[in-house]
């Protein structure tokens, strides 16, 4: 059947299993919106800003594991998506972005609302396409979804000129994709896998270091099984939180700049570091020369460029981490006689780690007069549902959430790790709530980041998305203030927000509910009431203004040089 390009796009999305798109109309996507008007299989969520639309698609993807889809018009609509795309790119989140473009005949003429969005986004997309002929459209969409979700996932952009949306052709969706330059290695080398297990069984002080790659590959079950069978402690990056249950006896929590004392000590003393789906980011390693100084390193990752990028690696395994972990577990089981001996051998190591845990547990100083942010996070964990999804913005509250919430399942913690995008939290939570209408979705943000995308309150109310918004309000851009306190002689240059905002009135202006806690004994009641109240709720917590995120490894220092909480 002959169809126009706009309709073909929607048919392709449907065949890719897309039931929700986040988008914002405009002149060069009006034909897509006209088709969408009567296309009942796809739900459209209208954000109030294209950046938020992409973050919402991103949150949807992180929470559900499916490809998120966002639409924006040409020019400013497209350029507004850039921060969202870069955020997804840094955290390897599968997205397909569709941007309108001026008619092909006008491209390059500085037409109204023209921007070279393929050029602008080239460094922050996994790949991009400009559709020049409607006959290529279906194959391009098929490729875009395949590229976005396979290998190391990432955002793919399709720039879609208006005249191509109008042009008609016979619609046929290709059955298969074959891209000669793109063949991700999914099956790890069997000999390397055997060697890895051998190295593990020979180690005396092993640590498993897990990144977001395990969550992206849906490999949490395999990770937990492997770590428990071998009895090896596990530390995770920010992006890896939830891949391994934070309350497990083998869990060391997060490592790195704001990681736990015991995770950083373990990594600094280990003789074998097994890195899985992680990329040795500078926030994790601190000073690279002194990172894991005594360790042999095994690095398992689907992306060969991650391996040996920042650190030397003794044994690389390129492959899908779920696939590799499954094989490693099998090889381990074949040597089950050796496992008991190995576990006896590493028992002193586990005791050493327990010693560090006792010496400096993850803690904070309580207060009876002022709300400690860590208390709010602990109460949120205590009072929320076990399967609650928690999104964060970026800054101090993000680290407090990472440190004190104790995530136990994959895809329950949504945060901008790589790019560190303020304004991410609220729209990401919105996307997660769209993916899981029945689950509790909470966003923790600071007063600064909340204001970067607060217009999305309108989208939440309009689409009946009951996201529970916790604002840890210290009236500061807290993380920068903390750096100014610690490293710039308390010169608080432009980090005090000065103007106190009435967040209750703000919530009410959007038709949502606003609650406030000013004293520690009010925290629990506010959270309980917020969770019980239908619809979106803002819970504002007036927190200790100069509370710091600790422990902290100053930027560029070794992991053992921690500033501790005591």
């Amino acid at each position: 059947m002959k169809m126009n390009g706009a309709r073909i796009l929607l048919e392709c999305l449907k065949l890719e299993g897309v039931d929700t798109v986040f988008g914002y109309p405009g002149g060069t996507v009006i034909n897509i919106y006209d088709e969408l008007f009567s296309f009942k299989e796809i739900r459209h969520i209208l954000p109030r800003h294209e950046q938020a639309g992409v973050h919402a698609a991103d949150g949807y993807a992180r929470a559900s594991g499916r490809v998120g889809v966002a639409i924006a018009t040409s020019g400013p609509g497209a350029t507004n998506t850039v921060t969202g795309i870069a955020t997804a790119y840094m955290d390897s989140i599968p997205l397909v972005l569709i941007t309108g473009q001026v008619p092909t005949a006008l491209i390059g003429n500085d037409a109204f609302q023209e921007a070279d969005i393929v050029g602008i986004t080239r460094p922050c997309t996994k790949h991009s396409f400009l559709v020049k002929d409607v006959r290529e459209l279906a194959a391009i969409v098929k490729k875009a979804f395949y590229i976005a979700r396979s290998g190391r996932p990432g955002p793919v952009l399709i720039d879609f000129p208006k005249d191509v949306q109008i042009a008609t052709t016979e619609f046929k969706y290709p059955d298969a994709v074959d891209i000669r330059g793109y063949k991700p290695t999914l099956e790890g080398h069997p000999r390397q896998i055997e060697k890895a297990v051998g190295m593990l069984l020979a180690a005396k002080k092993p640590v498993i270091y897990v990144g977001g790659g395990v969550i992206l590959a849906n490999g949490s079950v395999e990770l937990v099984e492997f770590a428990r069978r071998a009895g090896v402690p596990v530390t995770t990056t920010l992006m890896g939180l939830g891949s391994f249950p934070g309350d497990d006896l083998l869990a060391l929590g997060m490592l790195g700049m704001h990681g736990s004392y015991y995770a950083n000590m373990a990594v600094s003393h280990t003789d074998l570091l097994v890195a899985i789906g992680a990329r040795f980011d500078d926030r994790v390693t601190g000073k690279i020369a002194t990172f894991a100084p005594h360790a042999k390193i095994i690095h398992i990752d689907v992306d060969p460029t991650s391996i040996k990028k920042n650190v030397r690696v003794d044994l690389p395994i390129v492959g899908d981490v779920k696939w590799v972990l499954t094989k490693m577990l099998k090889v381990l089981e074949e040597q089950c006689d050796a496992i008991d001996g190995f576990r006896r051998e590493i028992a002193p190591w586990l005791q050493e780690i327990d010693g560090w845990k006792t010496k400096h547990p993850m803690t904070f100083k309580q207060s009876a007069s002022v709300i400690k942010p860590q208390l709010v996070i602990r109460k949120l964990r205590e009072l929320s549902n076990p399967d609650a999804i928690v999104a964060t913005d970026v800054g101090q509250h993000q680290m407090w959430t990472a440190q004190f919430f104790t995530f136990t399942g994959p895809r329950t913690f949504l945060s901008s790790g790589g790019l560190g995008t303020m304004g991410f939290g609220l729209p990401a939570a919105m996307g997660a709530q769209v993916a899981f209408p029945g689950r509790q979705v909470i966003v923790v943000c600071g007063d600064g980041g909340f204001q970067m995308n607060l217009q999305e309150m309108a989208s939440l109310v309009q689409h009946r998305l009951p996201v529970k918004i916790c604002i840890l309000n210290n009236n500061y851009l807290g993380m920068v203030r903390q750096w100014q306190e610690m490293f710039f002689d308390r010169r608080y240059s432009q980090t005090c927000m000065e103007l106190p905002i009435d967040f209750i009135k703000l919530a009410e202006a959007f038709g949502a509910t606003g609650l406030r806690a000013e004293k520690p004994d009010e925290v629990e009641a506010v959270i309980k009431k917020g969770f019980k109240t239908p619809g979106p709720v803002i819970m504002e917590f007036k927190i200790a203004r100069e509370e710091k995120v600790l422990p902290m490894v100053p930027a560029g220092a070794s992991l053992t040089e921690m500033v501790l909480a005591s």
């Binding site: 393929v118 050029g119 080239r122 460094p123 996994k126 790949h127 400009l130 590229i147 891209i179 000669r180 330059g181 793109y182 992306d303 060969p304 460029t305 040996k308 990028k309």
Partner: protein
């Protein structure tokens, strides 16, 4: 260390900017880059000369391979490839230097492709070091203009890569 890398890419618009953007975005050097279609219409071949230690070269080849439009990357090191480049050289040639230019051209088996009473334009082909050598001799005579293509490289031996 100097490396010559051959990159086979999809012959599509925007591929060159993906490759060059990768080099600039990640702080890798490009000494020279040449690109043209191959025997197979849908494939273009780039020859890139770059510098870096082993770790950087490993990243460069891995990052190139990661680009969707890149089909194959070959990192030629040491003597595994034959490299040729062409230079067009406009040199001052007046009175006594006219004969000297001709002698150099002859020694290097280059060609004069344009003549005026005050200059010669020379076409020279050869390995990059041969081009360097001819330029060194021409420079004192008065080099007016120089165009180098950058090298093209092909592997030694009977094995070929189609396209």
């Amino acid at each position: 260390m100097r490396h010559t890398i051959t990159v086979l890419v999809e012959n599509e618009f925007g591929v060159l900017s993906r490759v060059s953007g990768l080099f600039s975005g990640r702080g890798f050097n490009i000494d020279s880059l040449s690109v043209a279609p191959t025997n197979e219409e849908s494939i273009s071949r780039m020859t890139i000369v770059t510098r870096g230690d082993d770790q950087i070269l490993e990243q460069i080849t891995k990052q190139l391979n990661k680009l969707i439009d890149v089909i194959k990357v070959i990192d030629f090191t040491d003597e595994s490839a034959i490299e040729r480049e062409m230079a067009l050289i406009k040199v001052t040639a007046e009175d006594e230097s006219r004969a000297e230019v001709l002698r150099i051209v002859d020694i290097f088996r280059a060609k004069i492709i344009d003549v005026t009473p005050r200059s010669y334009t020379i076409e020279a082909t050869g390995s990059p070091s041969k081009i360097d050598a001819i330029l060194e001799l021409m420079r004192p005579l008065g080099l007016k203009e120089l165009v180098r293509t950058g090298p093209a490289a092909i592997g030694r031996g009977s094995k070929g890569w189609k396209g």
